[in-house]
């Protein structure tokens, strides 16, 4: 559509600094990209007037020689679970109909303070519960990647709209959130970079809660450097979130040195799951070889409790969700379905307001927390979590980072894997363990499936080791040199 939509954040930043173009010009071409790509359904709400207003303010700041921060004038998209002052926030749920927050989430405020320009609020799985962006009340998002078989692919989820927007050159970056893989899996399905920082790096204040001990915000971008720039703007201590870390935030971009000689990279044998496809295995071995050629030392490591991570997650996450989502009662905001009694009003509002997957998970959570079952399920799962964390801590005594595939397969067609919830849950088999342990992780596009759809490689490191991740991921990105564009971008109409 325009050369300006093909820029990375780093390139756009340089262009703005050197006055090659203004933020208004840059934002304007992105607004046209948003309008031209409405068929992807990547946005729940477009904030195009607001974007122009913020772009003008950015240009004014720059003209006065006082740019705001590291992302001044950069157009981005924001997942629709960050509360945005005066802008509809739905978490893609019917139950949040008409909800206009009178406040701004810390992460989106940080992005505003850094000068970025919000183009709109991106579509997602309802309350971030899903791996295909098909549970949204606002309809499925289409992956800009497809092959010539007439089937639209899912963008992954839950940050599916964010991933699709970045992949289709609609926005230069997007804010997402990851509970069990919700940034990394869609990034992998859409051929972009997705980063989940250490639990506590980004404030959860003002983020619509799903599972509070797992939820963590992070960036989706087209390059590793861009992820470092964007995380820099998002991260930081916040006294409004009691789990927000006071750990100092380093200069993430400075960690990209191109130098990984002597670093030890763990290859966990337990991630070679039953029935792993040869294309995923091939991609993984290729990644190992590349890092080895760059001077890193690959080492086999063992994470013995890996196979228990998914079932553990599907106790912890629904339990916390059932508690968090108790707030949607039809009294204070969002949808209300009137009824005779208070209890009936709660039940009808929640019955109509929540979609099928959300209802199922809330009920699952209510069951595992109910009297007599708490120890058997929730406490058991929290014990497993201790063991999973210990697996990682032991491994990180020997290695600096761990390399795995991001997903067990490439993007599937919309409507597939819907019959059995457990089949859908398998999507997150490689991303859930690091979520349970609160560890930072990143996915980098690393190749194409036999069908021609993108696949990602996934790096995990120890708590607050984001610098190692950015450094290794950047080296991997350069070696892979993934430059294929989604089919959507070569469409004649564009």
């Amino acid at each position: 559509m325009s050369e300006l939509t093909e820029l990375t954040i780093a390139e756009a930043r340089d262009g703005l600094v050197n006055r090659k173009f203004s933020s208004v010009e840059l934002t304007d071409v992105h607004i046209r990209a948003v309008e031209a790509a409405r068929d992807l359904n990547a946005f729940v709400t477009e904030t195009l007037d607001l974007a122009i207003e913020r772009a003008k303010a950015s240009d004014d700041r720059r003209a006065k020689g006082k740019p705001a921060g590291g992302m001044d004038g950069i157009p981005i998209a924001v997942k629709d679970l960050f509360c945005t002052e005066g802008v509809l926030t739905t978490a893609s749920s019917h139950i949040l109909d008409g909800f206009i927050p009178p406040y701004e989430s810390t992460v989106s405020q940080n992005l505003r303070d850094a000068g970025s320009v919000m183009l709109g609020k991106t579509n997602m799985d309802e309350f971030a519960m899903g791996s295909a962006n098909v549970t949204s009340f606002y309809g499925a998002v289409k992956n800009p990647w497809y092959v010539n078989d007439g089937k639209d692919r899912v963008p992954g989820g839950s940050s599916g709209g964010s991933a699709a927007a970045v992949a289709a050159n609609i926005s230069l970056g997007a804010a997402g959130s990851d509970t069990g893989g919700s940034i990394r899996q869609p990034a992998s399905f859409c051929g972009v970079v997705g980063m989940k920082p250490t639990y506590g790096r980004c404030s959860r204040w003002g983020m619509v809660a799903f599972a509070s001990s797992l939820d963590q915000a992070g960036p989706l971008t087209r390059t590793v450097r861009d992820a470092a720039i964007m995380l820099q703007a998002m991260a930081g201590h916040d006294s409004k979130d009691s789990t927000s870390s006071t750990e100092p935030v380093p200069n993430f971009e400075a960690s990209i040195t191109g130098e990984i000689k002597g670093l030890k990279i763990g290859i966990p044998s337990e991630y070679r799951i039953d029935g792993m496809s040869s294309e995923i295995e091939g991609l993984w071995s290729q990644g190992v070889e590349m890092l080895k050629d760059a001077g890193a030392e690959p080492l086999e490591v063992s994470l013995p409790h890996t196979k228990y991570a998914l079932p553990t997650y599907y106790i912890v996450a629904p339990a916390e969700a059932s508690s968090n989502l108790a707030r949607y009662d039809g009294v204070r905001y969002g949808l209300r379905v009137d009824a005779e009694t208070l209890d009936e009003m709660y039940e009808t509002t929640r019955g109509e307001g929540f979609g099928q997957e959300v209802r199922r998970r809330i009920m699952m959570g209510a069951y595992v927390l109910s009297a007599g079952y708490y120890d058997a399920y929730y406490v058991k799962a929290q014990k497993l979590r201790t063991l999973i964390l210990k697996d990682f801590s032991d491994a990180f005594k020997k290695v600096d980072a761990i390399l795995t595939p991001t997903t067990p397969f490439a993007a599937f067609a919309i409507g597939e894997k819907m019959d059995d919830p457990v089949q859908m849950y398998i999507n997150d088999v490689f991303t859930v363990p690091s979520s349970l342990a609160g560890l930072p992780a990143i996915t980098v596009p690393a190749g194409l499936s036999n069908e021609g759809l993108p696949l990602g490689l996934h790096l995990i490191t120890k708590p607050f080791g984001e610098e190692t991740l950015f450094c290794v991921a950047d080296v991997l990105e350069n070696l892979v040199s993934f430059h294929t564009k989604p089919a959507y971008l070569s469409k004649d109409a564009r």
Binding site: H305, P311, T341, E352, A366, K380, G438
Partner: protein, 95 residues
């Protein structure tokens, strides 16, 4: 353990979610499958394992017990369905 239909109705009630009667059998089947799948955790001996309570070893931060926010009922009520004056409204709960 399989979840029977009575249990599904009970947890729907606990979760305050109205579930149409014709969806109860499907839900019982789906939830049973998930429960069966998560019960593989029973093969792990966790006798002497401490349940994880926090990601990082950190002490819960505390602040002074002072009012730091408030006094804008209009903003608080701005999203309320059918508010009346400075109040939320609910169906009558006292006979």
């Amino acid at each position: 353990m399989a979840l029977d239909e009575a249990t599904v109705r009970k947890i729907a009630k606990l979760a305050r979610i109205k579930v149409p009667e014709n969806e109860v059998p499907t839900l019982a089947e789906e939830l049973s499958k998930i429960i069966e799948w998560i019960e593989q955790l029973n093969e792990v001996d966790t006798e002497n394992v401490t349940p994880m309570t926090s990601m990082a070893e950190m002490v819960m931060p505390k602040r002074a017990d002072k009012v730091t926010d408030g006094n804008y009922p209009d903003r608080v009520l701005s999203n309320a369905p059918n508010p009346e004056g400075p109040f939320y409204t609910v169906p009558k709960v006292i006979e």
